[in-house]
Amino acid sequence: MRRWLADRWVMGVALLVLGYLTLPIMVVAGLSLNRPSSRLSYDFNEFTLDNWKQPCATADMCDAVVRSMQIGLIATAASTVLGTLMAFALVRHSFRGRSGLNGLIFLPMATPELVMGTSLLALFVAAGVPQGFWTIVIAHVMFCVSFVVVTVKARLAGMDRRLEEAAMDLYASEWQTFRRITLPLVLPGIVAAALLAFSLSFDDFIITNFNAGTTVTFPMYVWGASQRGIPPQVNVIGTAMFVIALLLVGASSLRGRRARRAALAMIATPAGKP
C-alpha cells in the first residue's frame, strides 16, 4: 500500500492541478447555457439555449469580435511575413550584429506588457498619432514578431539540410529548391507561428487597452462590460473559441499521426514496392 501510494501520489497531485486548470473553462461553458438572474450576477440560475441561438443579442459585442478578428488577421499576416524573413536570415546566413539582433528579438518577450503598452502610448502621443484601429495593429505586429521568429527558427534549425543539397545536386534551381523542398518543410512551423500570433493578438488586453483610443476589441468589450454587467453571450464566444482551438489541435495531431503511419508503412514495405 505504501509503495503504491508513493508511486501514485505524483499522478494524483497532477490530476488535481489539471482540475484547477480546466475548472474555469467548464464554468464558462456552463455559463454559456445559463440565464443569469440579473445583469450583474455571475451565479448559475436557469438552463437556457437562448445565448447560443442569439449570440449577437448585444450587437456591440459582436462588432467587437469582428474587429478583433480583423485586427488579428492583419497583425498575423504582417508579423508572420516579417518574422519568417528574420528567422531565415538568422538560421541561414551569417551577418554582423547577430547578438544585438537576438537581444532585440528576445526583449519584447521578456518585457512586461504594461511597459510595452505604456511606452507605445507615450510614443503615439508625442508623435501626435491618433489612436485607433491601426495603432492596435502596429502594437500587435510588434509583440507577435518575436514569437514568430522563435517558432519558425526552431523548425528551420531542426531541418535536414541534405534534402536541399540533394535537390541542388539534381539540378534544381535555387528557386525550385526553395519552392519544392524548403518551403513545404518549413510550412508547419510557419502555420504554427501564424496560429500563435493570431491567438496572441485576438486575446491581448493590456497593450491594446493603452493604444486603442475609442476602438473596442473583444477583450476590451469584456473589460468594459465587467463594470456594467456581462451579457451571457460573452461565454458563448469564450466556449466557441475553446472548441475551435481544440478542433484545430485535434485535426493537426490526426494529420501528424497519419503522416507518421504512412512513413512507418513506407519503411516497413520491402524495398522496390511502393
Binding site: 473553462i25 455571475y42 451565479d43 507615450a122 486575446d203 473589460w223
Partner: protein
C-alpha cells in the same frame, strides 16, 4: 556534478551558419530589415520616449503640453504615493509563484515521466485554458468563488471560513487568479526539461542507496534547472505586471501597480507619473531577474 557533465551544455546553441558565397552579401540584411526596423521603431524607440516622458515637468498636462525639465523628482514622488500597490505587486506574484511551483512541478513531472501514452492528451489539457479568452476565464473565477457558490458554502460548513467569510474580493482571490492564469507558462518549460531526464539516472541513484528525497535533490532538481529558471521567469514577469486579476477578482484594496499605471495614463492623464511608475516596474523586474539568473547560474555550475 557527474550527472551534469553528461548534459551537453550547448544543446540550445545552433551550429554556426554556413557562409553563402555568390549570392549578394546584402541578402541577410534585406531579410532582416523590415522586422528589425519594426522592432526598433515600435519597441525600442517607445522605451526611450517613455523614459523621457517620466522626466517631464509634472505640472504640465495633455492639453497645455509637457515641458522636458529632467524632473527626476517624479520617481521618488510616484513611489512614495503608490508604494503599497508597488510592493503588493511583487508580494502577490511571489506568493502566486510559490503556489505555482508547488502545483506545477508535480504536474510537469507526472506528464514527463509517468503519463506514458496519455502524455500528449495531458499536455493539451495544460495548454487548453489558453485557448479561450483570458478575461472570460478570469471572470469564471467570479462564479467559482462567488458568495453563493459551492466552494464558499463548503468552506463555511467546515468552518475554514466564518459564517459570512468570503473569497471573492479578497487577496486570496487575486493570488489564486494570478496562479491560475500564468501556471501553464511555468509548466511547459519545466516539462520540456523533465522530459529529457533519463529515468535510469534515478534508478542509479536508488541503486546507490539514495533515498527518493535525496535522489530528487541531487538528480532531478539540478537537471530540471534550465526549465525551472525559464518557467519561473515566464511566470513572474507577466504576473507582476498584471492588473486584470486585481481589477476583476479584487477590490481597490488589492490593487497592484498595473491598476495605478492604467489610471495614470487613461483616467487621471498624469503621464509623467505613469511613465515613472512603468519604468520603475521594469527596472525592479530586470534587477530581480538579473540577481536571480546570477544566483541560479552559479548553482548550475556547482
Amino acid at each position: 556534478m557527474s550527472a551534469l557533465a553528461h548534459v551537453p551544455a550547448s544543446a540550445g546553441k545552433p551550429a554556426p551558419p554556413p557562409v553563402r558565397r555568390g549570392r549578394s552579401r546584402l541578402l541577410p540584411y534585406l531579410l532582416l530589415l523590415p522586422g528589425a526596423a519594426w522592432l526598433l521603431v515600435f519597441f525600442a524607440l517607445p522605451l526611450v520616449q517613455l523614459a523621457s516622458a517620466s522626466l517631464y515637468d509634472p505640472s504640465g498636462s495633455l492639453t497645455t503640453g509637457y515641458a522636458m525639465t529632467w524632473a527626476f523628482g517624479n520617481y521618488p514622488d510616484a513611489l512614495q504615493a503608490y508604494w503599497p500597490q508597488f510592493s503588493r505587486s511583487f508580494l502577490y506574484s511571489a506568493i502566486a509563484l510559490v503556489l505555482a511551483l508547488l502545483m506545477g512541478y508535480p504536474l510537469a513531472y507526472a506528464i514527463a515521466q509517468k503519463a506514458g501514452r496519455w502524455k500528449n492528451l495531458l499536455l493539451v489539457a495544460v495548454v487548453a485554458p489558453m485557448f479561450t479568452s483570458f478575461l472570460v476565464r478570469t471572470l469564471a473565477w467570479k462564479t467559482i468563488l462567488s458568495d453563493n457558490g459551492a466552494l464558499v458554502g463548503l468552506l463555511r460548513d467546515v468552518h475554514l471560513l466564518g459564517p459570512d467569510g468570503r473569497l471573492l474580493a479578497t487577496p486570496i482571490a487575486v493570488v489564486l487568479g494570478l496562479t491560475y492564469n500564468f501556471l501553464p507558462f511555468l509548466v511547459l518549460p519545466l516539462y520540456a526539461s523533465l522530459e529529457r531526464l533519463d529515468p535510469r539516472l534515478l534508478e542509479a541513484a536508488s541503486d546507490l542507496y539514495a533515498s527518493p528525497l535525496r535522489a530528487f535533490a541531487k538528480v532531478t532538481l539540478p537537471l530540471s534547472m534550465p526549465g525551472l529558471i525559464a518557467g519561473t521567469l515566464l511566470f513572474f514577469i507577466p504576473a507582476t505586471g498584471d492588473y486584470i486579476n486585481a481589477e476583476l477578482l479584487g477590490t481597490p484594496n488589492e490593487y497592484m501597480i498595473g491598476n495605478v499605471i492604467d489610471s495614470a495614463f487613461l483616467v487621471r492623464l498624469d503621464y509623467p507619473q505613469g511613465a515613472a511608475l512603468s519604468f520603475l516596474l521594469m527596472a525592479a523586474i530586470l534587477a530581480i531577474v538579473f540577481v536571480y539568473l546570477r544566483k541560479a547560474g552559479t548553482e548550475e555550475v556547482l
